[in-house]
Symmetry: C2
Subunit: 224 residues, 2 copies
Amino acid sequence: MIPEATVARLPVYLRALTALADNGIRTCSSEDLASAAGVNSAKLRKDLSYLGSYGTRGVGYDVDYLRYQIAREIGVTQDWPVVIVGIGNLGHALANYSGFRSRGFRVVALLDADPALIGQTVAGVEVQPFDDLEEIVRTHDVAIGVIATPAFAAQDVADRMVAMGITSILNFAPAVLTVPEGVDVRKVDLSIELQILAYHEQRKAGGATQGAAAAAAATDGGAA
Amino acid sequence: MIPEATVARLPVYLRALTALADNGIRTCSSEDLASAAGVNSAKLRKDLSYLGSYGTRGVGYDVDYLRYQIAREIGVTQDWPVVIVGIGNLGHALANYSGFRSRGFRVVALLDADPALIGQTVAGVEVQPFDDLEEIVRTHDVAIGVIATPAFAAQDVADRMVAMGITSILNFAPAVLTVPEGVDVRKVDLSIELQILAYHEQRKAGGATQGAAAAAAATDGGAA
DNA sequence: CCAATTTTGTTCTCACGTTCACAAACTCCT
DNA sequence: AGGAGTTTGTGAACGTGAGAACAAAATTGG
């Protein structure tokens, strides 16, 4: 119903509205909110129009009211239990990330296959063996899983998650996951993001085949 | 020239080709590569066609040759020096991430504003004060900066980076950055990704307003 | 050497997303 | 009360991206 591109922006609007509310602002125009969210106002208004008519013409939007409506639409008015698998450097960082809890997500378990990690406490949660996944998913009715393992383990973890009933996966491992129909996967890939930047950087730097290093090397003349 | 959507997929193809090469495969069809990369073959062929005609009809693609061509197009045949600012949990994880170095990115400096962190060694690199940014950017000719600070510091860091000549920024802070024309920013936002999953999860769970928690609460009847 | 087969590269069509532009609706001031 | 000024919500135009379908070019077997 709501276009995917719009869904991806709603959390941005939500965050911008929270920032406005923290500054004591109670009403804002689409122009205000758009600039806080880093989009143009036409797109913002169109996005919001998919949710309903929550603004007032000639006035703007009530910050708290709109914030609640977006939160409800996204589904972050309730708490979502989340399991993190793979407690390496990244898993540690994710477990400690305060942005999860403050936005309706509760880390109910940290799992790892490495026996050396089991029993350690990270961000106030004890690391459990991966085999506890089934019990945890059943007990807490977990629908969302986070994969922060090395690439070689990611597909196995995903398969087990799906078998246990998890239907949404956030994947940080640099691997392509195959999952059945009905399971959503979102991928966050750090090195891919850098590579995209590198591509544009290379084009800025001078067109041909030169990166920063090559550009420096080019100063010693063309004919070697 | 090359569509943005295609640019975003080239690193995926590159990784899939590397995986094929590691398995000793020297030639592959568009079908093979597409399934390894998780896209359909028509899209893959169209993407590759923007780079040139590097395949052979009736045969397929030479894995090593295509890999080199994509790497050259992206610009990862050379090393890109990278600065990471903000050495908290996430900064630690990024500094230790092996996927950077193996893909043409070299972390030349770790910076933080917290005096308590200065001098510590993370992933073999000493943490330096943020004020060293200018010298580092000049010395190493850094074009790409990574921001892993808290949200409130992100815009300041970005401004300083831009002033020092950095033209590509990868931002992990949950904040909207404003930068001048000509500077590229890519955003990675963990909680937004989860919120997008939550939206779809909510729709799967039963349509109306119920998340996992609400679904459980709903069992105690509608009229309170 | 020629026909059959395979697989790429490309064209065409359709769907999606973005932006512009404007009518509808509300407030404020006289 | 009524007009001037704001600001939303939306219809229409435009641009980009995805997918199907097919022609061109290579290999293979006789």
